[in-house]
Symmetry: C2
Subunit: 438 residues, 2 copies
Amino acid sequence: MFTLQRGGMTLSALDEQMLDPGVKGLPITEPLRQGAIGVQGWNVLRADTSLPVAVLKTSSLQHNLAWMRDFCERYGATLAPHGKTTMSPQLFGAQLANGAWGITLATAVQVQVAHRFGVRRVLLANQLVARADINSVLQLLRGDPDFELVALVDSLAGVARLGEAVAALPLAHPLPLLVELGLPGKRAGCRSADEVMAVARAVATTPGLRLAGIEGYEGLLVSNDPEADVRAVETFVGRIAQLARDADAEGLFDGAEILVSAGGSAYFDLVARGFNGMRGLSRPVRPVLRSGCYLTSDHGSYQRLIGKLDEREARGAGLLPALEVWSMVQSRPEPQLAILTMGKRDASYDVDLPVPLFTHRPGPGAPTALPQGCSIVKMNDQHAYLQLPDGSPLSDSLLVGDLVGCGISHPCTTFDKWPLMLAVDDAYNVRHALNTFF
Amino acid sequence: MFTLQRGGMTLSALDEQMLDPGVKGLPITEPLRQGAIGVQGWNVLRADTSLPVAVLKTSSLQHNLAWMRDFCERYGATLAPHGKTTMSPQLFGAQLANGAWGITLATAVQVQVAHRFGVRRVLLANQLVARADINSVLQLLRGDPDFELVALVDSLAGVARLGEAVAALPLAHPLPLLVELGLPGKRAGCRSADEVMAVARAVATTPGLRLAGIEGYEGLLVSNDPEADVRAVETFVGRIAQLARDADAEGLFDGAEILVSAGGSAYFDLVARGFNGMRGLSRPVRPVLRSGCYLTSDHGSYQRLIGKLDEREARGAGLLPALEVWSMVQSRPEPQLAILTMGKRDASYDVDLPVPLFTHRPGPGAPTALPQGCSIVKMNDQHAYLQLPDGSPLSDSLLVGDLVGCGISHPCTTFDKWPLMLAVDDAYNVRHALNTFF
């Protein structure tokens, strides 16, 4: 499962590397070859690892990979999952091996990482502006003309910068660009159709650049009114589709196909439906979804958002949470308080604090689900405060040295805290390691 | 300045390593020897680097190192700065070369990193509980009997775990431990003097362990009433001192000296004063301060807290902010909104959002201070939203491609986002690189 579809030669270098003691989660006292991690016989529930440890459940990953492949096939959508979520070459490989068309990335440096590990097609979902970053992307393309990269623009200034750069460092093929449609008060992107068309015309007429499609990011449309959000997303996706038609009517596109792209991890069903069956343009339309968080989902905000997506899809079991952070009770200083050996360095805290799921006294057997009312109420850099419900038997039974397994909310801000994560089977046996590059 | 006081042989290995393209901040398209970074002629204000980039101002670091050395000398205090703040071997080296007695750390994995890079004395400011983590620390001590490590305990369960471990893996010297005094509703640590004394007696009577001192962490005493906080800290420090006297009166300490330790980065003056001149015990008392954030300070919460410390000390210029994150204006989609190429992956957001300080159009000259009213109002994973004041000339003059320099609030949660930071002089010339190991 965890092999790159093509060009996977460099992944094996990760398994060959020697890991020094001092990597979070690893219980090693001597250097260890990464590829040997799976044969150490470590089990998280026996507390064989260093703690805290971040684990990815391979059965959930496999379920989510298959689920998303089926989903895209059903809607005729193309998947370029956002790689900034995990920045893990092994997970990029698994996504590509499960039908992904390419990997979406956020920065030039992320593109360099992905290229180094064999990714062959990237959607860079940002406008490049810094000279050094434009330069590094152009040098990649000049040194490897078969590497495919499409980037965003949202201003005439942005087009001009790229135009000057490709004039100075010519490419074998024109650089394909998507014009970004934005939303008032939200992030980047043109605010009006007129602006989009003006930028599209500038791309089409700048030597060395070509207009490849229209793009937007609907994921910021999260308010307290989910039904209004759904309507707003549908409207936004419709505007992207119409802009593609308008630009096509003006003959601005170049290349074999037209890309239309949107789709974070909350509404990709609406995006897929909105772009489904676009026909009658001068060339085939490829709808590209960019969800990054589908791969692991979570036990917080994405679980809630994807739960609503599941309701809309009405096709039964949806995406499964795959990422957990396990730590240990370090102190039990008060009856209702347990201090855990994990903190802001180990688990997301930007959307919600971690969600305590299980406890387990190290040894054989399955972990015990924590009762309702247990919650992480605070985190410091290296500590979490687990509050136990009033009158719970846990205030007697939860001891220093017990394991606590937590789910997280927002995978992106947990992945970036772990240079190495451990992939586990359903019994929490450690099967192999996954690297991240942040 | 950036050399380890002793045992610095391994730092040079960092300068010898080859860095691949794909490291945040580095504008490289080919592998580069880390030690050659300082001779590339890069300047941040010319936008020579990849963006975002995290920079440390060496003049401010040097000022802060000297300031803290003088401070500790004045109060007869010993400094074991908390290394979890930076996790940077080069900065550990600078701290040790400027009078630090050792490095404080939070986890066994952090101890492994520090030991690997030549740190010879560690205060592990946590109770070790996981078997793998206890084991890795004991193995370090067994393999290198001159390496000094003192750790915390706050429960009989914790003492028992360590006692069993050293019975199984005997050390050349008894493992020195500090008993932690805590605070009601706060983090780890015994809640009462009786508990402290019970744990201290258990340490003193467990073979292979020895009682080395008493410890607490006052840094959580931050409320809306700063004067009450000061009184609470003074009381807390007094309790630690009294517990050291009580334990000494019972003859529980072993070793050449008695350690008393407290001192985050907000109140270390009160701690130094509180422990100053402790005499009349059975052996010399060594007060150990553990501030980690003094080294870089910040433009947010620590600047405010240290400002109050400066008022109490009344000795003029205090600690200077040394850490900035520079990014570029990527989009100007609305007159009052600039989208910057940095986000939650690049700068702290747990206490305050980053503080915009400067803007600069890439090229020669000094940066321009941003006017009052500019603020970062939101961050996504890879973007920041800079809001410009109503009617500011900036709404016309700030353009796509302009640089923006931000200060941060809470150094710990910015350091952990950068595997490599660039040290710059006052003109933002890049002088060398600093590694972090999170």
